[in-house]
């Protein structure tokens, strides 16, 4: 018989962020969603530099926290996940932006409710700290 034992690995780091990502995170604390202008459109989440041409990104713009699921994967709930029941990790194209934001989509644990093209809206945590977790999850928009 093989022995086994529970293990935990943890690297409890903090890392510095640039001024645009810093403003994006500070916006989340106020339940506001920001993107950043580039030559090819608005990026959300923002970056300091455009990965396509390396140019510094432009001004920050406030966005309606609504978008469309472009792809998703269904996962069983585990401790530490954003929601307590099964949900989808998804790429969400925020309205008016290019690219997509990776986040949790909560459809109440019913896998039949998640689909590409689903319209979703951000749900904010009541206690926010300027962290990506301030965005609790996305939920289907009422039809």
């Amino acid at each position: 018989m093989s022995l086994s034992a529970p293990y935990t690995i943890e690297f409890p780091f903090r890392r510095t962020v640039g001024p645009k990502i810093g403003t994006f995170l500070a916006g989340l604390r106020e339940a506001r969603l920001f993107g950043v202008r580039t030559a090819r459109g608005v990026l959300c989440p923002p970056l300091e530099f455009d990965p396509v041409d390396g140019a510094a990104t432009g001004e920050l713009v406030e966005l309606e926290p609504v978008g469309t699921v472009t792809t998703w994967t269904w996962v069983p709930a585990r401790p530490g996940d954003p929601v307590a029941h099964d949900f989808a990790w998804a790429l969400i194209a925020i309205d008016g932006t290019v690219g997509a934001l990776f986040h949790c989509v909560d459809v109440g644990g019913d896998q039949d409710q998640i689909k590409t093209g689903l319209r979703v809206r951000a749900k904010w945590r009541p206690d926010r700290s300027g962290d990506l977790r301030d965005l609790w999850c996305f939920e289907a928009e009422a039809p």
Binding site: M1, S2, L3, P6
Partner: protein
């Protein structure tokens, strides 16, 4: 539009719970530690002696033989001095983590070397285990508190025994 004052840092944690499965081979070694015994196993194919031993020889893939006990002494085959503090650290830096080749074995065990100043540790240093008290014994390498020196290097470190062991099954 008023922009919020940017935050300067964000938490970037990696936190993972998992189950370590030792395997039937390595479990024999771990159970030995619970009895203050360092158990080795011999490969019937290529004569390699493992401590700790896997279930199958990593060179010729044969199941290894029954366990037998080693005296427990050994020597440092390589080491590093940990100078950097980190969360969850048990010992205060600087301290020495070494690969120890137990006498009679051809592979190495990683453990602490203490009761010696870090600058005194050398490759080839002869060491012996310091075991924990009875009530702290476990099927874990923590049953050995650390290794400590028992003398100075006694042999040419270039003449490592596994380099002399022929590769491949003995009957090939």
């Amino acid at each position: 539009m008023t922009l919020p004052e940017p935050v300067e840092t964000t938490s970037s944690p990696l936190y993972m719970n998992y189950t370590y499965v030792a395997g039937t081979g390595r479990s024999v070694f771990l159970r030995g530690l619970n009895e203050r015994r360092l158990l080795a196993r011999h490969c019937p194919g290529c004569s390699l002696v493992y401590a700790p031993a896997p279930e199958f020889c990593s060179r010729c893939l044969r199941p290894v033989g029954p366990p037998f006990e080693l005296p427990g002494t050994g020597e440092v085959s390589t080491f590093c001095v940990v100078n950097f503090p980190f969360p969850g650290q048990v010992y205060e830096p600087p301290y020495v983590v070494a690969h120890i080749m137990l006498d009679g074995a051809h592979n190495r065990l990683m453990h602490l070397v203490r009761e010696v100043a870090p600058e005194e540790v050398t490759i080839g240093l002869r060491v012996e285990p310091v075991w924990v008290d009875d009530d702290e014994l476990d099927t874990s390498t923590t049953s050995i508190r650390y290794f400590r020196p028992i003398g100075r290097p006694t042999r040419d470190v270039a003449a490592v025994p596994y380099a002399q062991t022929p590769i491949g099954p003995a009957d090939a």
